[in-house]
């Protein structure tokens, strides 16, 4: 839900309460005011009536209407005048109407009179209806106006915010461009942009440093590895070693090989991540697959694997040749490595996808993590477990979706172009 809509919703909910409260108080205030007004009218009326009665010479007859009652009374009368509310039934409309009445006693020409003056009060219902109607009117008008203002100002006011959002969406940590959000004249957004600029700049710097570091580390490691290997190569030429010493040299050699393999794979991963291979050319994948199968044919023969291919020769796409080669080679080697003797490899290629499926043991680890670094199907193997991460990294950089499934004792990796 948009922030603005949410704000309006809160506003509406709270204004409903405010309006109800306001209406109730308005009702009582108005009622009191009206009653006071009527009381004042009654008092001034009384004075007028009394004057009129005094001036009339004849005796005053008893009189009875809704608004005025005059009755001659015998005996004494109370001095006090009383104000009260009353309801009187009227035949004309057939309903009770609320009235305010003033009883008072007066003595005119030695005769005592009890006089009642009445003024109708505005009916409660009318008042309630009036107040409610008014309030609802104001309420609706306010909401409409608010919405209108919001709608009008939203585009203008929130424009910098949406711009910031857009820039953030397009922002890539490893891109050459800084975020560079512009300065705006709304304080909050200005602060937001400033903070984001600083934050992303720091992120970019840290990322660059880290990348630089891993790049340098992998690179610098190659020379000492080369020295170690060359010294071992010379050492094993010596024929005077005992079997035990040779065994130790073998262990050294194995460890060195693991290390240099690891280093090479990491190096490759880093360089793919650094987008060192972004020069693209037309790559004929079916030709590439045939070539790689040819290269690997003897390894395939040793395991007595049978390979079937269904390759669309017309499928040519823009790809970095080195990455394409690494991708295919890693996938095929993977299919050979995790196969069983006399197993199968089936390769299917068309414009939509590349699918390589091979027979093999059920993976011992969760397939979801197979593409992660240093995760391998067989934890005891010497391989660094980077082959599929390299595949994934290449796919990631070329916008290829990758999927792995183990069905019917077959590993199937599908790349969707």
């Amino acid at each position: 839900m948009k922030l603005l809509k949410k704000v309006i919703l809160y506003f509406i909910v709270s204004s409903v309460f405010i309006f109800i409260l306001g209406s109730v108080s308005a009702y009582f205030v108005l009622k009191t005011l009206i009653a006071e007004e009527v009381d004042e009218t009654l008092i001034s009326e009384k004075n007028r009536i009394v004057k009129q009665l005094e001036q009339s010479a004849e005796s005053i007859p008893n009189w009875k209407t809704i608004h005025l009652e005059v009755r001659q009374i015998k005996g004494n009368f109370a001095e006090k005048e009383t104000l009260s509310d009353t309801l009187i039934y009227t035949k004309d409309t057939g309903e009770f109407i609320p009235l305010r009445q003033l009883h008072f006693y007066t003595r005119i020409k030695d005769k005592n009179y009890r006089i009642t003056l009445r003024r109708s009060l505005i009916e409660k219902e009318d008042l309630v209806a009036g107040v409610t109607g008014l309030m609802i009117g104001i309420f609706i008008a306010t909401i409409l106006l608010l919405n209108l203002i919001n709608y009008r100002s939203e585009r203008k006011l929130w424009k910098p915010f949406y711009k910031t959002l857009q820039s953030l969406n397009a922002f890539e940590l490893d891109s050459q461009k800084a975020l560079n959000l512009p300065s705006v004249n709304i304080l909050e957004f200005e602060q937001l942009n400033k903070t984001l600029n600083a934050l992303t700049e720091k992120l970019r710097r840290d990322y660059r440093n880290l990348k630089q570091f891993s790049e340098n580390a992998a690179h610098e490691m190659q020379t000492p590895l080369a020295i170690l290997r060359s010294k071992l190569d010379i050492m094993i030429q010596d024929q005077s070693f005992s079997d035990e010493q040779l065994q130790n040299i073998r262990s050294l050699y194995n460890a060195l090989n693991r290390l240099s393999r690891l280093n090479q794979s990491l190096n490759l991963l880093i360089r793919i991540e650094n987008q060192e291979f972004n020069r693209k050319r037309k790559v004929d994948f079916s030709e590439l697959i045939k070539q790689q199968l040819e290269n690997l044919s003897e390894l395939i023969q040793i395991q007595r694997l049978s390979v079937t291919t269904d390759l669309d020769a017309d499928f040519v796409t823009d790809f970095n040749p080195f990455m394409a080669e690494t991708l295919i080679s890693n996938l095929l080697i993977n299919a050979i490595k995790h196969n069983v003797p006399e197993g199968r490899i089936d390769i299917e290629l068309n414009a939509r996808r590349l699918r390589i499926s091979n027979s093999g043991q059920k993976p011992k680890v969760n397939p979801d993590i197979l593409f992660e670094r240093f995760k391998k199907a067989n934890p005891s193997s010497d391989s660094p477990g980077l082959g599929l991460s390299i595949v994934r990294q290449i796919c990631l950089q070329n916008g290829i979706d990758i999927n792995y499934a183990y069905v019917n004792a077959r590993h199937t990796i599908t790349l969707y172009f």
Binding site: A226, R229, S230, K231, D233, I234, Q237, Y253, E276, K337
Partner: protein, 225 residues
Amino acid sequence: MNILIIEDEKELAQSMRHFLNQEGYICDVALNFEEAYENIQLHSYDCIVLDIMLPDGSGLDLLQKLKEEHSRAGVIIVSAKNALDDKIKGLNLGADDYLTKPFHLPELSARVKSIIRRRQFEGDKQVVFREIRVYPDEHRVFVNGTELDLTKKEFELLMYLIGNKNRALTREAIAEHLLGDQADMLDSLNFIYTHIKNLRKKIINAGGGDYIKTIYAIGYKFGEK
């Protein structure tokens, strides 16, 4: 045969010199650009092993100078930076081969041998080891005059073994020679074992000697008994 090793890492340069000396090559070592340039001016080499990253210059510039002077030396670029660009640049500038650190010394030796052989006169383009005669360009092998039917990898294996005769060779070095980078990713021992076995059988069947010896824990050695 004279070889110039241009490598700023002293230890590595010495290893290379030691190994190539044993092959009968005469080696000079240059530890920087200046030394290397001086050596090139003064001597004539058959092969130059060239590190691209030198403290005082780029190996690629040296390569360019060599080519401008129409040097007859074959050049093997050796670089820690297995950047594709460097490789392409180097080969475009006229380098004959490219090797990535860390490499196996027998691999370097095999490549040096191959370059030198390629630069020799036409008629000499055959390699002979006792009764085994190899024509590298035609991929043909004869044992006592009988042609062997070898697969591509078996042929490469034989060339490598002859090129490194009397050397202890690790299974890994052999695998890397035969499979390149792919050797890293596969369990290559089985592969090497099978190929050695087949090659040995084919040579013996053609009346050749059993020249492939197994070295405990290490690998193999090709040579006379």
